[in-house]
């Protein structure tokens, strides 16, 4: 009854004649409602793991169960569908569409949803989400008119528009100053506590990881420890 279950995941990149093994048998489970930090030095394989968890890539071998469905071998289109419905992404560099209002940025993922959602409903949901991340008064601002923290909050709202099961944040505070970082992390925590959203933050920064309940350390393609941390909450 875990949300995410990885069983013996391997990922090997083939570069010409040389095989580069990146993940060497990862077994991991994350329950619904957890607030997890995925940590590791660069080159440790944490980005690769996150790509696999985020359905951007598929493992070379192993099983990936997401909400009790094995998805390590599904087609690219089906992975896109899963990303649309089950997964929200927040990126280090926000990745907002330039010259597009905050509202439209948030609404964007719904244009790739198969199910019919009425325009009114889409707009309503986006407005609600922007209000929740504290940008109710900046619905029609373009990203260039927003501060870094505000941009990241727009990105969070965008990640949540399709009510995903899990939210991935890849170095969400990498481009923010320490004060804004704290704000954004506090918001993640709030979403996790109040809404019960599962949040997985990928970071190399222990200060960021400190905010989470559990840190998973990746080292050379293997999990170093996956224990629940006591120092998660301050």
């Amino acid at each position: 009854m875990e949300l995410i279950e990885l069983k013996n995941i391997y990922k090997t990149y083939y570069m010409g004649d040389i095989d580069v093994p990146v993940l060497k048998g990862i077994t991991l489970s994350i329950s619904k409602g957890e607030f997890v930090a995925l940590m590791g030095a660069s080159g440790s394989g944490k980005s690769t793991l996150m790509n696999i968890l985020g359905c951007l890539d598929h493992p070379t071998s192993g099983e990936y169960w997401l909400e009790e469905r094995e998805i390590s071998r599904v087609s690219a289109d089906e992975r896109a569908n899963l990303r649309n419905h089950k997964i929200g992404f927040v990126f280090q560099n926000f990745n907002l569409l330039a010259r597009t209002s905050a509202l439209e940025n948030v609404m964007m993922p719904l244009s790739y949803t198969h199910e019919h959602v009425s325009d009114k409903e889409v707009k309503h949901r986006a407005e609600e989400l922007l209000k929740r991340v504290g940008l109710g008064d900046r619905l029609h601002y373009e990203p260039s008119k927003l501060s870094g923290g505000q941009q990241q909050r727009v990105a969070v709202a965008r990640a949540l528009i399709n009510r995903p099961s899990v939210l991935f944040a890849d170095e969400p505070t990498g481009n923010l100053d320490s004060k804004t970082s704290e704000e954004v992390l506090a918001m993640f925590k709030q979403l996790n506590v109040e809404e019960g959203i599962t949040v997985i933050i990928v970071t190399h920064d222990p200060n960021v990881a400190r905010h989470t309940q559990r840190q998973i350390h990746i080292h050379d393609g293997l999990i170093a420890n996956g224990q629940t941390s006591q120092g998660g909450s301050q």
């Binding site: 890539d57 990745n95 597009t100 399709n162």
Partner: protein, 457 residues
């Protein structure tokens, strides 16, 4: 459901287009100029082509001549035009029953001296006809005065209109209107002077002409009814005219049939015949129909079953018609080539900028894929963007082209003509250009790997 998705993709495309106005404008510029050039060229081209067609038509390219056939008697042929079976009623029937014929007029020829005061002249042609003749020849603009009317034709009024050469030679600058001149010793009042037409293709002066009602020429002046267009100066005057002052001044061309011959070849009661009928087809393209309709009609009227027995010939100006149609096809082909080249140039421009745009928007594509866009969604989006760009460019180009050709007409006074097929074709072609040249960049975009694309700087 499908429609809603299409609307959403269309909206996304429009948003993407709006997001970068500069790039959008540059992309569209190629198509705008391409389509604009095509439309302007087509309008100027059709205008010029029509003007050329009209000019050639004025030279008589649409003219059809109905000549009487050859009469034979006792094995002796009398040459073209010797049969006397064409009647003015045939002409009326042609006007009435041949839809491809714009106008037709009977023609009676005469030849002889004209005199005014102390000057005399022998005109190249003295024609008896109806006012339709000028329509057939596209010669309705008069320099002075008016054309005689149908009533003049019915009453054999002694009126005539003259060409510029005669006005110059006989009247020497004074206005001929209302003056009396003698044509073969019959007094005619000049009611009009034709505008100048110059020489025809054979180099004959077309302004050296006297035109009068055919009834007057036939019955009062006494033109030979058996004169063919082929016979020249020495016309036979068989009809006895009250005003024939010098009988036997002209030698008879044909042998007078003996009583036996006449008995052998009984001729129907003599009816009024004309030397030829001139007709004009509605357009050069309708000449074959006009000929078919006239042939059928005349055969029926002359009770001819076997085409071999035709007592008439219909001639057209094949040479001129060919020149006309080859001019038109040449113009059309030229314009088509120009149009295609400019549209291809525009299309390549679109492809270039779309390719740049795909590279520039790699991160955006990665993001869209990360939030759930499938490869085909991306393909569709970029394709629709290209088509929308091309269509918008095409419409702007149409406006530009129409405006340009309007200005050209306005200020340079070139003939232009709005070409609806060109506009429709431009819209279709610019949409196809969008699809054809937008496909490769769109395909490239859809093939991006989301992980790589997101990392792209």
């Amino acid at each position: 459901m499908r429609l809603f998705r299409l609307m959403r993709i269309l909206r996304t495309a429009l948003r993407a287009i709006r997001r970068n106005p500069m790039r959008t404008a540059l992309t569209m510029l190629g198509i705008i100029i391409g389509v604009g050039a095509v439309i302007a060229m087509m309008e100027i081209g059709t205008g010029s082509s029509n003007a050329i067609a009209k000019t050639i038509a004025r030279m008589g390219a649409n003219t059809l001549l109905v000549l009487p056939g050859a009469a034979t008697s006792g094995g002796i042929g009398f040459g073209a035009g010797s049969s006397m079976t064409l009647t003015p009623q045939d002409c009326d029937a042609i006007i009435r029953d041949c839809p491809a014929v714009k106008s037709a007029a009977p023609l009676v020829r005469a030849r002889g001296q004209i005199v005014y005061q102390d000057r005399n002249w022998v005109p190249m042609s003295i024609y008896g006809t109806t006012e339709n003749y000028l329509n057939v020849r596209d010669w309705t603009d008069m320099a002075q005065g008016d054309v005689f009317t149908d009533k003049d034709v019915r009453n054999s009024t002694k009126v005539c209109i003259i060409g510029q050469t005669i006005a110059r030679e006989l009247f020497q600058g004074s206005s001929p209107i209302g003056k009396e001149m003698r044509v073969l010793n019959i007094s005619f009042k000049v009611v009009g002077v034709l505008s100048s037409k110059g020489a025809n293709m054979m180099g004959m002066d077309q302004d050296d002409i006297v035109i009068a009602p055919w009834t007057t020429i036939k019955f009062r002046v006494g033109a030979s009814s058996s004169t063919s267009s082929g016979t020249s100066s020495s016309t036979t005057s068989t009809a006895s005219s009250p005003s024939q002052l010098y009988p036997n001044s002209q030698t008879s061309l044909y042998p007078v049939p003996s009583d036996t011959q006449t008995a052998d070849n009984p001729k129907p009661v003599r009816f009024t015949n004309v030397d030829q009928i001139v007709a004009a087809a509605n357009s050069a393209a309708e000449i074959p129909q006009a000929i078919d309709q006239m042939t059928a009609l005349l055969r029926e009227r002359h009770r001819i079953r076997n085409p071999k027995d035709d007592d008439f010939n219909i001639r057209n100006m094949t040479e001129m018609t060919n020149a006309l149609s080859s001019t038109t096809t040449l113009m059309t082909k030229l314009l088509l080539a120009v149009a295609l080249i400019s549209l291809i140039v525009g299309g390549v421009g679109i492809m270039n900028i779309m390719l740049v745009s795909v590279t520039e928007r790699t991160r955006e594509i990665g993001l869209r894929m990360a939030v759930g866009a499938r490869a085909k969604d991306i393909l569709r989006q970029f394709l629709i963007e290209a088509v929308v760009l091309c269509l918008a460019g095409g419409i702007l180009g149409i406006i530009l082209g129409c405006g340009g050709s309007y200005l050209i007409t306005r200020f340079l006074r070139w003939p232009t003509e709005t070409s609806v097929p060109a506009i429709v074709a431009s819209v279709i072609v610019s949409a196809s250009v969008g699809i054809v040249f937008g496909y490769y960049p769109a395909w490239k975009a859809s093939r991006l790997d989301p992980i790589e694309a997101l990392r792209y700087e």
